[in-house]
């Protein structure tokens, strides 16, 4: 069991660039382009890791420490997520709160890194990213708490295991509302369209990219990888909480194989949905983002209210 848990953690971390590659490829297909290979992000990382790390003259030691620490905190957060089996490398009471705060720590560090660069772009990106993350934190925790309350458990793995044993057609309004809220938050947190465009480098529109603009070489590679892990983690979290059916509840070889095949299918669906969303919608004006996240907050509050109603 321990080996399986470790394997799914490694899979989550190592497959992160692949998920990015798949999304990019699907987007290309939707736009009638041929697109790059789905393995392209790995090549990018390899290239960046071999390039030199350029540090601005005003930067202190913190500048280079930030990507490494942010990567470490994101990795620690990934250790809580069940992927193929209903178990995770780390699992204890209240772990989903810790997960949210580990991601918050990673972002805290990246914001500091942006200031360390000493240019105006870093501050601009940090300021915008701070706005999005502040507004995303409330719906993120509220919807997780709504799910935790409805499943009567306080840790991710039991929540996922509980959901997997429920009848899909019995699903409560809480799940629907929390799902909608979490999708919006996931888009905002991972910096995808319509909140942020990961492929833009225009100062008027950059959020995350402006924040990490001064980074290069291995530091940039780690930031890119961190961002990819975060996307993979969010997708895994959404699948685990709202579509876990088929996840291996035991450690049997067949169950795990089925779980893996089904997970791949769900992942492709999620990637397809993301590609479709990104190709069909435009990036929001920055001051429309609070309204977008406000919808998520409203939905998550409703989810909490429905935990009371649906129990009666």
């Amino acid at each position: 069991m321990m080996a399986l848990k470790a394997a799914q953690f490694v899979l989550l971390v190592l497959s992160a660039p692949l998920v990015r590659g798949i999304v990019a490829r699907l987007k290309a297909a939707l736009q009638r382009r041929r697109g790059a290979s789905i393995w392209r992000p790995y090549a990018d990382l390899g290239k960046l890791f071999r390039k030199e790390d350029i540090v601005p003259p005003s930067a202190s030691w913190l500048f280079r420490a930030v990507p490494r620490l942010a990567f470490a905190f994101t990795l620690a957060a990934a250790a809580f997520v069940p992927l193929l089996i209903s178990g995770a490398l780390l699992s204890f009471t209240g772990d989903f709160i810790l997960l949210v705060y580990l991601l918050a720590f990673a972002r805290f560090l990246l914001l500091l890194g942006a200031f360390a660069g000493g240019s105006s772009f870093g501050g601009m990106g940090a300021s915008r990213e701070a706005m999005v993350s502040v507004l995303g934190e409330f719906p993120l925790l509220m919807s997780l708490i709504a799910i935790a309350v409805i499943s009567k458990s306080t840790s991710l793995v039991p929540i996922v295991a509980w959901t997997a044993t429920q009848n899909f057609f019995d699903i409560s309004a809480v799940h629907v509302l929390a799902f909608a809220a979490l999708i919006i938050v996931a888009i905002a947190e991972t910096g995808r369209i319509p909140v942020d465009n990961p492929s833009t480098h225009l100062e008027l529109t950059m959020l995350h990219e402006a924040m990490v603009l001064e980074y290069s070489g291995p530091s940039l590679a780690l930031i890119e990888w961190t961002q990819a892990i975060k996307l993979n983690l969010m997708i895994a979290l959404l699948i685990g909480l709202f579509l876990p059916w088929g996840i291996a509840l035991g450690a049997g070889a067949l169950a795990v194989a089925i779980s893996m095949a089904l997970y791949l299918l769900k992942l492709l669906l999620a990637a397809g949905a993301l590609a479709l969303l990104e190709s069909s919608s435009a990036k929001l004006r920055m001051y429309a983002v609070p309204e977008f996240l406000g919808i998520a907050s409203g939905l998550s509050v409703l989810a909490i209210v429905f935990t009371v109603i649906s129990k009666r």
């Binding site: 350029i54 003259p57 620690a76 250790a79 780390l90 240019s119 925790l141």
Partner: protein
Amino acid sequence: MLVAFDALFCLLVIGPLISCLGGIGRARVSWVHFGVAMVTAGALVCGAGVALAAWCRGLPFTLDLSHFSPFTFLLSIDRLSGFFLFLVCAVSLPAVAYSLPYIGRHYGKTRAAWYWALLPLFLLSMIIVVTSATAFAFFAGWELMTVFSTALIFLEGDSEERRRDIFLYLLTMQGGAALVISAFMLFAPLAPSLDFASIRSAAGVMGGPLKAAVFLLAFCGFGAKAGLIPLHVWLPRAHPIAPTPVSALMSGIMLKTAVYAFLRFVFDFLSGGPAWGGYVVLAAGAISAVLGILYALFETDLKRLLAYSSIENVGIIYLAMGAAMVCLQNRLPAFAALALLAALMHTLNHAIFKNLLFLGAGVIHSATKTLQLNDLGGLLKLMPSTGIVFLVGCVSIAGLPLLNGFAGEWIAFQSFLAGGLLPSPVAQVALPLAAGALALTGALAAACFVNLYGVVFLGRPRNPEIAALPKESAAMLLPVAALAIACVLIGIVPMMVIRPLWSLVETLIPGGNFASISGIGSSLQTVALVVLVAAAGAAAIGLVTRAAVRRSPTWGCGLPHLTARMQYTATSFSKPLRMVFAWAYRSERKLEVSPAERPYFPTAVSYHSRRTTSYEKTLYRPIINSILAAAQQLRRVQTGNIQLYLLYIFLALVFMLLFMRFR
């Protein structure tokens, strides 16, 4: 141990005497102050020892000082007092140590003598507050605390503006004290001696409405001291203008005496308060936490920012206390105990990191002579040790994992999860919403302190004078570093405070389940290990691929070079959030371009933004105006004519005679 307790008081009184004599005599000033500091520190160590024995072992102490005073003056330490006595004694030690170099550098002989005379007395008054066992002793300490802190604030200067701020402070404190006296007096008919033991038994036989009145009076009276919004107006004015170590003590510890007193009233005397009380406390906590940190985000003065963040943290403590009351009313003691644990833990944590940040601000001020965020920058390279220590404080106060701020908030979140188990539908929605408020507060605090740290310590100095700083003073830095170490230790091994705190919680709310939190310590250590390994791994990747590191100027978008003034300032960083939360600020902006006739080719642009949400104007001014109007009306009676006054006396006499005759 009783000897140690006696020694605590004797030493704290001897200290000021030495200082006064030293001020008169001709001894070398620095040695006198060193002596006072040593005596005070010795007293605090004694106090911390007594406190630990009472808090962890449950050894009760009682000290009867009635023969020194005109009323029953009983001091006694149970577990609750023990914890707060430890807070006062142990956490103020670094501030006392820090005072030596700070006062030596900033104050002349007379003011230093005053400072060293007043500081031990200020500490003594706080010790009396948390150890008193009679209403009179409590009140003596409570009032002395206000008096001595005010005197210490005056040491920094007494300009017209400072007098106004101090007046507001005194006014709020006296108003709060009036409410607290009334709360005690409501017990008087049932417990005439007003010692805590008889108050406790009197509360048991008290009627519901009277209990509710006591609760409300205590809530408002102590809320004024704790700085709950809207009773907070004095706090961001009085705290920043005190000498730095006193600011630290006021924010870190003095506010906590209000938390102590509120806990004493609600959980000890009233055993949980009225049924709706929990929701009132929850709402007050949520409002103070969210608005406190929003106002902090607006500030560009380091000490004012920290003062507003104290309001936020007091809000978090009240949020957890409210959850404890709600759970207790709904007969769920296991979660009530958890919430109370979170409140106490955050009380300790906030004392530690707020002291750290205020003292750190003092270090910055001593070196750079400014506390304006937008004038600073790049300090991490110039003051590397201060930078690391301050970073620990910022991460802790932002409530991020592996530091002490998170440990407390995590327990609070876990107690809010009880919402689903409660029978009352209101509580089922209220507790998760409280969790949401805490999440929003945490996110805003992270943004606020990223802003603070990024602008002050990172990037490049915005003021060329800062580039040449004196060397960091180890004497000032060591006490701050000790606090930083405490932050890290409690953050990774929280069990070392959870265990003794749990034994305290059990005396107030029996029926908790220690097993539900016993995993917290080991889980945080596992996460710390994972993070450490992963960070080492990430650093090792660079070593394996042997990527070079090169310093090269940042591309200036075609400009010859970037200047320090092109960096984002604290004001520009918080701009998007200020726009989103505009309802909380209602800011007023003023943009001046000169020359005005050529707006597209300006030589100077000035931008000014001001928060207009003013509790003084919208809430207090109408109250004050109506009081003044009533006073105007009363003046008709008060003419100054002596015959009229004689008539009043005569009429009063006639009335009394008639009253006595026909009653």
